[in-house]
């Protein structure tokens, strides 16, 4: 399934390329693992009992791996106060996947301190990022 992966030599068109004011990290390699994800390289985020997301440049060595690099928009924001305006998720229990902005699914992880990274479906990425920027404005940023 080479067609799932972004080809070399072609510019990576991030779903967030038209949003200002966020740290876009959509280009990071994201791999969905089905089944056992123990002992894999890279950052492993468990999604459900038999699903995990691995973030990293190299394709993990596992029997069932799906390239989700292009499927998920990813960006980072600063501030617990901002996060609390986005989601009801417990910010002390991250990473977690749940609802933001009343009904959009997102995978949220903490990147140290008050920095958070959000992964959202690519097709909703622009909308989410734009809304987050606006919410940040409401907090005076």
């Amino acid at each position: 399934m080479r067609f799932m992966s972004h080809p070399e030599g072609v510019e990576f068109a991030s779903p967030l390329r038209h949003v200002d004011g966020i740290d876009d990290v959509s280009h990071l390699g994201k791999w969905e693992i089905r089944g056992d994800a123990h002992g894999l390289d890279g950052e492993v985020i468990r999604i459900s009992p038999d699903r995990a997301l691995v973030v990293g440049d190299r394709r993990p060595d596992a029997p069932r791996v799906y390239d989700m690099t292009a499927a998920l928009a990813a960006f980072e924001v600063e501030g617990e106060d901002l996060m609390r305006r986005l989601t009801e998720l417990d910010l002390d229990e991250l990473p977690a996947i749940g609802s933001i902005l009343r009904g959009t699914p997102a995978l949220i992880e903490r990147r140290g301190g008050e920095r958070f990274r959000l992964y959202v479906p690519q097709e909703l990425g622009h909308y989410v990022a734009e809304t987050v920027v606006d919410l940040a404005k409401g907090l005076g940023r």
Binding site: P7, V10, A71, Q122
Partner: protein, 847 residues
């Protein structure tokens, strides 16, 4: 009015603020509210009552009653007694015709009896019917409280989620002590803020410890492990004739005016009280120089007669057992009632305590605690009478809704004897105070009139919100979760007219839809189909899973081949359609309709949760961009952009193959939703623009949804959800060929039963004899009766006719049957056509 500075006052006289009230400039000080500044400036009438337009003045100064509501800066129903003064605020009276002091609508007070009796909502202004438009105009004018400016400014509301271990509601002494005692992450909220409390009003207690708190522009949604309710007690009014006159106040009103704002409320006062609060108010009055002419302590003095009389709605004297005392202030205190509403919402039981004459909360849910007055921890008070008489003035049980003692008696006489019914019929307790000042009074009166006790009458159900809240705050921000295809910005750049399809924005057309149709038929078109649902099904049991989900066969599908598939439910309903390509022995690539991707994926996962096949179901809808390259020149264009062999032998109709196009690895599916030679190319979303640009550079003309709908209709392809509905099944939709003989699939039994019993309707194609276009939804008629309906219709230049799909009776479903279709009231002839309108044999698709 303002007295000399006194210790403990809450105003800072060095900091003046000026606002505008009805054109006049009014000045107050920091610490004042708009209400106190107006009172200090001599204003006594603050509002006109809901039904009778009687003058009303400050009563509670706590934000509990309806009496001081005005429109501030365009926002209606602001309680002035708790609204801080600010420079430049524009304050206007509401619910008046004329001015507060001379309100023309107060005529309803004089003649109101016959016009606005209890329950008038339900029975006046109904007949004669033809006058309803007039009535409606009148009612709309006088109904409701305040007006929302049509060009009102848009405010910004936000929602914030918070988690705490303990949430304490109410910042009085008990609340503050509870907060200090509590362990963990503790938060105190109070309507008036201060003392480290978050300023906001708790609107309710919901399941799961959810407490929404109204903080003006922000709605806090607290999730608390434990909730402590310290909402205090509410000072209760007494029920007697004239109890709504301007000048009649609750003790707290006097306390705030005198102590906090250093205002002398009036010249001469009478106090009638069931507890110490009234006595304290008497002291407060004396301290600011108001003469206290008479104090009636109901705990030691039994009175039978109590009435207030006034001129122009303002208090002038009080009658106590025949004795008349001139005064301009009357302090009434009927004791305090625990503010148990939030507790009751949380599931507590509320019990009547006859000794103290109040309702107290009991049996609290596990995670909820009550402290202080809210818990019933209140000093003893005399139990006042349900009402006192002594005059012929109106005797209000509920001042928000202008419900009098007479109204309650009348409702009872009409049979509304349960508290819930009486409430709805009289609307008592349904106004802005939400029962704070009238719930107990209504119950007491019903008890007296029905000769039972308050316990037998019981309380009404407590529901959120515990206090008025702006709808904007509840609605919060407007979120419009718009899905954008990876090619979205290309469409915008090309000036496409965009339209909503579900949550997606898609191009309707880039210019002239007919020209785009022509391009596909004559040369080459390209359409963004990234919105199609895409699911990978992989694993040793993948084929078997699909076999059981679809009516047709997939186990025998060769690798590299594609089959059309329709999903049905066990009820036989058609739920979605799409294609299934086999990319490997254990690997299938499924497409769904654009709106069906999530539901189909859920559906697959649901059944697999039941069956437990060894198959992964991976929704890759967003991972991939997809385009359909279609037209007689499609192969040539594709060939120029790839090294792969795309000849008709190497890539046949219904073949699936991975090829690289313009440097982008693609899954090429040779299928056709439109009737020309075509290829669907699926690639990584992030490379979509690159692929699109290459195809457009090769001369492919972008076409939108509208031209696509014409093209698909020429092929008589069904759109699930448009041409089918919840009654449609495979046989009636004309797809019997898709049902294959196998032991089980979802929907098998329904289809078999339909087969035995026969279909009631059939979906057919039709052409209009003339050139008129029936709207979608037009009726198919026989002998003037509707027997079917049109679901799709378009003008097809290619076919040279108006074509469409329609549901008809099975007897009328044979090829060539003549139909009548009603368009704008007239019937027009049409002919049933079962084969596709264009290229019926599919030669073009295969070429």
């Amino acid at each position: 009015m303002r007295i000399a500075p006194q210790p403990g006052e809450r105003i800072d006289r060095r900091k003046p603020f000026t606002f505008e009230y009805d054109g006049a400039k009014i000045t107050g000080f920091e610490g004042d509210t708009i209400g106190s500044a107006l009172y200090a400036a001599g204003r006594r009438v603050f509002s006109r009552s809901f039904k009778y337009h009687r003058p009303r003045g400050l009563l509670c100064c706590s934000g509990d009653c309806p009496n001081c509501m005005m429109t501030v800066d365009g926002v209606p129903n602001v309680r002035l007694c708790v609204e801080p003064v600010r420079d430049g605020a524009v304050v206007r009276a509401q619910n008046v015709l004329g001015s507060l002091d001379r309100d023309l609508l107060s005529i309803t007070d004089k003649i109101g009896g016959p016009f606005t009796p209890v329950g008038f909502y339900y029975r006046t202004m109904i007949r004669p019917r033809r006058l309803w438009p007039l009535y409606e105009k009148f009612l709309r004018n006088v109904a409701g409280l305040g007006k929302i400016g049509e060009n009102g400014t848009h405010r910004r509301y936000d929602t914030e989620h918070r988690r705490v271990d303990v949430l304490v509601i109410g910042g009085g002494r008990a609340g503050r002590e509870a907060a200090a005692r509590a362990e963990g992450d503790v938060l105190l909220v109070d309507e008036h803020g201060g003392g480290g409390a978050l300023k906001g009003r708790a609107l309710g207690i919901y399941e799961g410890g959810l407490v929404p708190v109204d903080a003006g522009d922000v709605l806090y949604r607290f999730r608390a492990e434990r909730i402590v309710v310290a909402t205090g007690g509410i000072e209760q009014p007494l029920v007697f004739p004239g109890n709504d006159l301007v000048g009649v106040m609750l003790p707290n009103g006097v306390r705030r005016l005198t102590r906090d704002w250093s205002i002398k409320p009036g010249e001469r006062a009478v106090v009638v009280t069931a507890d110490d609060a009234g006595l304290e108010a008497a002291g407060d009055l004396r301290a600011v120089g108001t003469e206290v002419a008479r104090v009636v302590d109901l705990r030691s003095e039994r009175i039978v007669q109590l009435a207030a009389v006034g001129k122009r709605g303002r208090l002038s004297a009080v009658l106590v057992d025949g004795e008349a005392v001139d005064c301009d202030v009357l302090v009434m205190s009927g004791g305090r009632q625990p503010a148990y509403s939030l507790l009751a919402q949380a599931g507590a039981r509320v019990e009547y305590e006859p000794r103290r004459g109040i309702f107290v909360p009991t049996e609290l849910p596990e995670n909820v605690e009550a402290v202080g007055s809210a818990a019933g921890d209140l000093e003893g008070a005399a139990v006042p009478a349900a009402s006192y008489d002594g005059g012929d003035g109106k005797c209000f049980v509920c001042i928000c809704e202008d419900v009098t003692e007479k109204d309650v008696k009348r409702a009872l006489a009409e049979g509304f004897d349960s508290i819930e019914l009486a409430k709805r019929y009289t609307t008592a307790t349904m106004g802005p105070c939400q029962g704070r000042l009238c719930h107990l009074q209504s119950i007491r009166m019903l008890a007296r009139e029905t000769e039972t006790d308050e316990a037998a009458i019981g309380t009404t159900t407590a529901r959120p919100p515990w206090g008025p809240v702006e709808l904007g705050l509840l609605a919060g921000r407007h979120y419009e979760a718009m899905k954008r295809s990876p090619l979205h910005f290309r469409h915008e750049e090309a000036g496409a007219t965009m339209m909503w399809t579900g949550a997606w924005r898609r191009p309707f057309a880039y210019g002239d839809p007919a020209a785009e149709v022509r391009a596909v038929h004559e040369s080459l078109g390209v359409i963004d189909v990234s919105t199609l649902g895409k699911i990978i099904v992989e694993g040793p049991d993948a084929a078997e899973l699909l076999e059981r989900l679809y009516p047709n066969r997939f186990a025998d599908l060769a690798v590299g081949r594609i089959r059309y598939g329709v999903l049905t439910t066990d009820g036989g309903r058609i739920m979605d359609d799409g294609t299934v390509a086999r990319l490997g022995d254990d690997l299938f690539y499924v497409t769904t309709t654009s709106t069906g991707s999530e539901s189909v994926c859920e559906w697959f996962e649901w059944w697999n949760a039941v069956w437990g096949y060894d198959a992964e179901i991976v929704n890759v809808t967003g991972a991939l961009a997809a385009v359909n390259l279609a037209g007689p020149q499609a192969r040539e264009a594709l060939g120029a952009l790839t090294d792969a062999d795309v000849s008709n032998d190497a890539l046949k109709y219904l073949d699936a193959k991975e090829i690289t196009v313009a440097g982008v690895p693609c899954l090429a599916l040779r299928i056709g939703f439109v009737g020309e030679l075509g290829y669907e190319l699926h690639c990584a979303a992030s490379a979509g623009e690159h692929l699109w640009d290459a195809l457009v550079a090769r001369g492919a003309v972008p076409f939108g949804l509208e031209p696509q709908r014409v093209l698909r209709l020429e092929k008589a392809h069904v759109i699930v959800g448009q041409d089918t509905d919840s009654e449609s099944n495979l046989l009636s939709a004309g797809m019997p060929w898709i049902v294959k003989e196998k032991p089980d699939f979802v929907g098998k039994w329904a289809v078999e039963l339909v087969e035995e019993r026969g279909i009631r309707e059939r979906l057919v194609g039709f052409t209009m004899d003339g050139g008129l276009l029936p709207p979608e939804g037009a009726q198919v008629v026989e002998n003037g009766k509707s027997t079917g309906r049109v679901t799709s219709s378009r003008v097809s230049e290619q076919v040279g006719k108006v074509i469409g799909l329609a549901w008809v009776r099975p007897e009328r479903a044979d090829d060539g049957t003549r139909l009548s279709i009603r368009i704008a009231g007239a019937d027009h002839p049409a002919t049933v056509t079962l084969a596709p309108f264009y290229d019926a044999e599919g030669a073009k698709l295969r070429s």
